[in-house]
C-alpha cells in the first residue's frame, strides 16, 4: 500500500525555486498563496548554507486534521491529506497547528479578507469529481488520477525533491547517501523516519545537533 510522502535532499537543493514556480503554474494557485516554498538556513555562510523545499508533508498523524473545528480534512487511501473547501471556514487553526506552515490563506482582497484554506494536495485534487473543472478551480490539477507524481518533484532539476511512496523514495535517498559517502545520513530524523537498522545491528546514524543560526 502506497504512503505518499515528500523528501528533500538538502545536499542537492540549489534554491532555484523551480518547484515553487511549477506548483503555482500547474495548479493556478492564487496571488499571495505559495503551496510550496524554499527555506534556506545559514544564508550566506560559506559551506554551511542549506536549502530545503517545504510544503504539506502529508503527515501520518496530521495535526491539522486533529484541530480542525469543522472536520474538513480527510486522508486518501494512499496517505494524502486533503481537505474539503465547502466545509472550511478559514479559521486558521490548521495554520497554527502545522509545524511546516503548510496551510495558506488567500488575502488578495482590498480589505485583507482571509479566504478558505489552500495547501499542497500532492497534486491529488480534492473531493470533487476527478479531473473536473470544479476540482481544478478549487484544488488544482489531479495528477495522481492521471497516473503521475506531483509536478514539483518530477521537474526538480537536481532531483533534490523526491515525491512518491515513502518506502520507494526512502530507498532512493538511502542508496544516494551510500554512493556519495554517507553525507546526508546525519539528517534530522533519519534514524526514526528513514533509517533501517542493519541486519543484527543498531539503527544507523544518530541525528546531528542542529546548526546554529537561521535566516
Amino acid at each position: 500500500m502506497a504512503r505518499m510522502k515528500f523528501l528533500c535532499d538538502a545536499e542537492r537543493c540549489i534554491e532555484c525555486n523551480g518547484c515553487v514556480t511549477a506548483c503555482k503554474n500547474e495548479n493556478e494557485v492564487p496571488w499571495g498563496v505559495n503551496r510550496r516554498r524554499v527555506v534556506t538556513i545559514n544564508d550566506g555562510v560559506i559551506g554551511a548554507e542549506k536549502s530545503i523545499s517545504v510544503a504539506c508533508m502529508h503527515c501520518s498523524d496530521a495535526p491539522c486534521m486533529a484541530v480542525c473545528p469543522v472536520d474538513c480534512f480527510y486522508k486518501t487511501a494512499d496517505g494524502v491529506v486533503l481537505h474539503d473547501k465547502d466545509l472550511c471556514i478559514g479559521c486558521g487553526y490548521c495554520f497554527y497547528a502545522c509545524p511546516f506552515g503548510a496551510p495558506q490563506f488567500p488575502q488578495a482582497g482590498a480589505f485583507g479578507l482571509r479566504g478558505k484554506m489552500d495547501k499542497c494536495t500532492f497534486c491529488a485534487g480534492g473531493p470533487e469529481a476527478d479531473k473536473s473543472e470544479a476540482e481544478f478551480k478549487k484544488y488544482g490539477r489531479n495528477r495522481l488520477a492521471e497516473g503521475k507524481l506531483p509536478v514539483c518533484a518530477e521537474m526538480c532539476s537536481t532531483k533534490a525533491l523526491l515525491g512518491g511512496d515513502g518506502d520507494v523514495i526512502a530507498d532512493i535517498y538511502r542508496e544516494r547517501v551510500a554512493r556519495r559517502g554517507s553525507k546526508g545520513a546525519e539528517a534530522w530524523g533519519w534514524g526514526s523516519a528513514y533509517g533501517q537498522p542493519p541486519k543484527g545491528g543498531a539503527a544507523p546514524a544518530a541525528p546531528a545537533a542542529p546548526a546554529a543560526g537561521k535566516s
Binding site: M1, A2, P30, W31, V70, D71, C72, F73, Y74, T76, A77, D78, L82, H83, D84, K85, D86, L87, G90, P106, A108, G109, A110, L113, G115, K116, A124, G125, G126, P127, E128, A129, D130, K131, A134, K137, K138, N142, L144, A145, E146, G147, K148, L149, A153, E154, K159, L162, G163, G164, D165, V168, I169, I172, E175, R176, R179
Partner: protein, 78 residues
Amino acid sequence: MRNLLLIAAMLSFAGCMEVEQASTPERQAGQTVKRDTNPWSNEPLAAGPKWNKGDRTSWEEQIKKRQLAQHEHRRIYQ
C-alpha cells in the same frame, strides 16, 4: 478634488481583486466531509501512463516505476 475622486475610484475597483471564495454552496446542517474517489478508478489518459481501471495494484506498479525515474543511478546507468 481630483485626488479624492482618484482614491474613490481606486477603492471602488479594488473589490474586483477579490479571489473568488463563494463558488461553493453554503454549508448545510449535518453536512460532512466529502470523500475523494481513488486515483486508480479513473480511465488512464490516451497518451499517459497506463494501468487497468479500478485495479489498485496496477496503478501502484506504474506509479512505482515512475518514482524510479527520480533515481538517476538506475535511470542513467541501467
